[in-house]
């Protein structure tokens, strides 16, 4: 075990102060915020530590802290982007915060996607709804050094066209010749001008039938989507050890102390949030 010193501060619960420099509404109730560090020491710590897949606790004093991923890639560390759905007390306070307002951030915590190990391999990203942000961090981390990877396929779906997040980036990926983007919405969620697929992510994934040869799959979505996507990937011939996912359990500390994020003996905050499907299959499924 290594000795970490969080944000150069001794106190592991003391957050960094971040300024909101931009914000963008992705979908109804879903917002992306771009945050900049106020203390250069905190920023330095982030630059040294952050790797794609890690998460943070974003907070508003007086309301509390919420856990979500760092949605920006490890290739862009001048700022942090986070995307969240307004649903509870903290996320409502975050949603009410304006450009120029200050919020808090603790992190980055957890492990990461080992993208150096993906060099020379084809990449398949499968994601659903509000789970695109963690996947997007890996996608851009790889696209920013595109030459190091083989074919890049992204399968992304949401309940409805309106619920798709990062619409501007989806357009960008759709136009890129070095990215294969498959978009889908759940049956009934299509708009009259929708030209992409209609169907659930696992079904659409099976139709797209990406080859498992020399391919790493990164999947992220609600538990039910993950469950069926894993089955589809198995059908397609993917080995469990080549499939990565990220678990997002409720957390308070993010530091392996408060005791709520564990699945079986695994502390998601410290040993995760990134796991291979092989690791997930060893966890007690009833506790997932």
């Amino acid at each position: 075990m290594t000795e970490h010193i969080h944000n150069t501060q001794q106190n592991i619960y003391k957050p960094a102060i971040m300024k909101i420099v931009a914000r963008h509404d992705e979908a109804p109730g879903v917002r992306t915020m771009k945050l900049e560090f106020q203390d250069p020491a905190d920023h330095e710590f982030f630059k040294e530590t952050y790797r794609t897949g890690m998460f943070g606790l974003y907070g508003v004093y007086g309301e509390g802290e919420s856990t979500f991923c760092v949605a920006s890639p490890e290739t862009r560390k001048d700022y942090i982007e986070c995307t969240f759905r307004q649903s509870g007390r903290v996320t409502s306070a975050l949603a009410n915060a304006d450009i120029g307002d200050l919020i808090t951030f603790r992190g980055p915590y957890g492990n990461r996607f080992p993208i150096e190990e993906f060099h020379g391999k084809n990449l398949l990203f499968v994601s659903g709804g509000i789970a695109l942000p963690p996947t997007r961090s890996v996608i851009w981390s790889c696209l920013d050094q595109r030459e190091k990877f083989g074919k890049v396929t992204i399968v992304y779906g949401a309940r409805s066209v309106a619920d798709l997040v990062y619409k501007h980036e989806l357009e960008e990926w759709q136009e890129r010749s070095d990215v294969d983007l498959v978009l889908t919405v759940d049956p009934g969620g299509e708009s009259p001008d929708w030209k992409n697929k209609v169907g659930f992510v696992p079904t659409v994934l099976e139709e797209a039938a990406p080859s498992p040869d020399n391919c790493i799959a990164v999947i992220c979505g609600p538990p039910i989507m993950i469950k069926f996507t894993l089955i589809s990937l198995k059908k397609l011939g993917f080995d469990e050890s080549n499939v990565y996912t990220t678990l997002e359990n409720r957390m308070k500390c993010g530091l392996g102390k408060c005791g709520r994020c564990n699945v079986g003996s695994v502390y998601v905050c410290k040993e995760g949030p990134v796991f291979t499907a092989a690791e997930v299959s060893r966890m007690p499924s009833a506790d997932l």
């Binding site: 075990m1 003391k14 007086g62 359990n249 392996g256 410290k270």
Partner: protein
């Protein structure tokens, strides 16, 4: 030659330690509950209890503890640490199970990230433990491979002399030796008859239980539903447990200033693990009781090589529906036969 501390000299020790800057804390009866609290005189200490209702955990990890004070200004936010009130203290008359409970949680509060609030209090405390000469039906230290005179987590172990005359001193750590060097002249050298240690009956076969818990097939056993049927999820067991360490972080204050607190929480509560989406990984009381048992006897020892239980028995003793770890492990012992 061993050192003896006679009971009638205890007040001299208390005075000496107090003038040396120590706060003296010990078992006392307060209102309707017994607990460990600060005292001015030795006479306030109650050594007649099997063990206080509340454990010494409260002294290291309080029920609610201010961590940070925040002030939001127009252009900035100030965060100030609220560290525990500084000052050395002597906990006199802890029970061996309570003392060992604190050392059990050290690796948890220290792995990778060091929790200052815990360790500052740990570093400033001398734990003087008194071996047990009395036990009740709920005590289960021996089942946990410990004993009424377990030394783990203690700086000094005192062995009661026959006839309540005093204690034979066993110095265990430098911190303990230092505290006792200040009262060296009050101690007497010599040997005396020791009171017999409490007899604590072994209630279950821990190794058999652990083997059963480690078998993945038993994770979804009907046993969990049956054993936890009457659990009302009140979390008394968690709060009174010397080793339960789960907590919540909550802010108290208004828009401009306030305090971020660390509060006890419990795996018994449904909200503990509930996702924002409404999905709850541990959605039933049986899943939560299973988590509690698994965490203590399977997951925690897997990580830190020690069971997260010191055998004090408070979980069973104080349970409003008469459940507890003892009963659960007794049943598991039978299942694993």
């Amino acid at each position: 030659m061993t050192k003896i501390l006679f009971s009638d000299k205890l007040d001299n020790c208390v005075e000496r330690w107090k003038s040396g800057g120590f706060t003296i804390i010990g078992p006392v009866q307060r209102a309707n509950i017994s607990t460990y609290a600060a005292v001015e005189h030795a006479a306030e200490l109650d050594f007649g209890l099997v063990l206080p209702d509340r454990s010494i955990k409260d002294l290291f990890f309080p029920q609610s503890e201010p961590m940070l004070r925040y002030t939001i200004k127009k252009e900035s936010i100030d965060t100030n640490e609220c560290l525990p009130p500084a000052g050395p203290r002597i906990i006199f008359g802890a029970r061996p199970c309570d003392a060992s409970g604190m050392s059990i949680d050290d690796p948890l509060f220290g792995w990778d990230y060091k929790d200052e609030y815990w360790f500052q209090r740990r570093n400033e405390s001398v734990i003087i433990t008194i071996a047990c000469t009395k036990a009740d039906d709920f005590c289960m230290c021996t089942s946990l491979k410990m004993a009424p005179d377990t030394t783990k987590g203690s700086d000094i172990l005192l062995r009661p002399l026959a006839g309540n005359k005093g204690w034979q001193v066993e110095e265990l750590t430098d911190r303990g030796r230092e505290a006792f060097s200040a009262i060296a002249d009050i101690l007497q050298e010599g040997a005396d008859t020791l009171a017999p240690l409490a007899v604590v009956e072994k209630k279950f076969d821990l190794d058999a239980c652990v083997t059963w818990l480690q078998n993945p097939e038993n994770f979804e056993s009907r046993f969990w539903k049956e054993i936890s049927m009457r659990c009302i999820g009140c979390a008394s067991c968690t709060y009174l447990c010397p080793t339960c360490h789960c907590f919540d972080i909550q802010d108290e204050g208004d828009t401009y200033t306030g305090i971020r607190r660390k509060n006890w929480d419990s795996c018994s509560f449904a909200l503990f693990t509930m996702h924002t989406s409404g999905h709850n990984p541990r959605s039933t009381q049986s899943a939560r009781w299973r988590q509690r048992i698994m965490h203590k006897f399977n997951y925690f020892p897997g990580k830190f090589s020690v069971n997260s239980c010191s055998g004090c028995g408070r979980c069973s003793r104080q349970c409003p529906v008469d459940m507890g770890i003892t009963e659960t492990l007794q049943e598991i012992s039978t299942l694993s036969l």
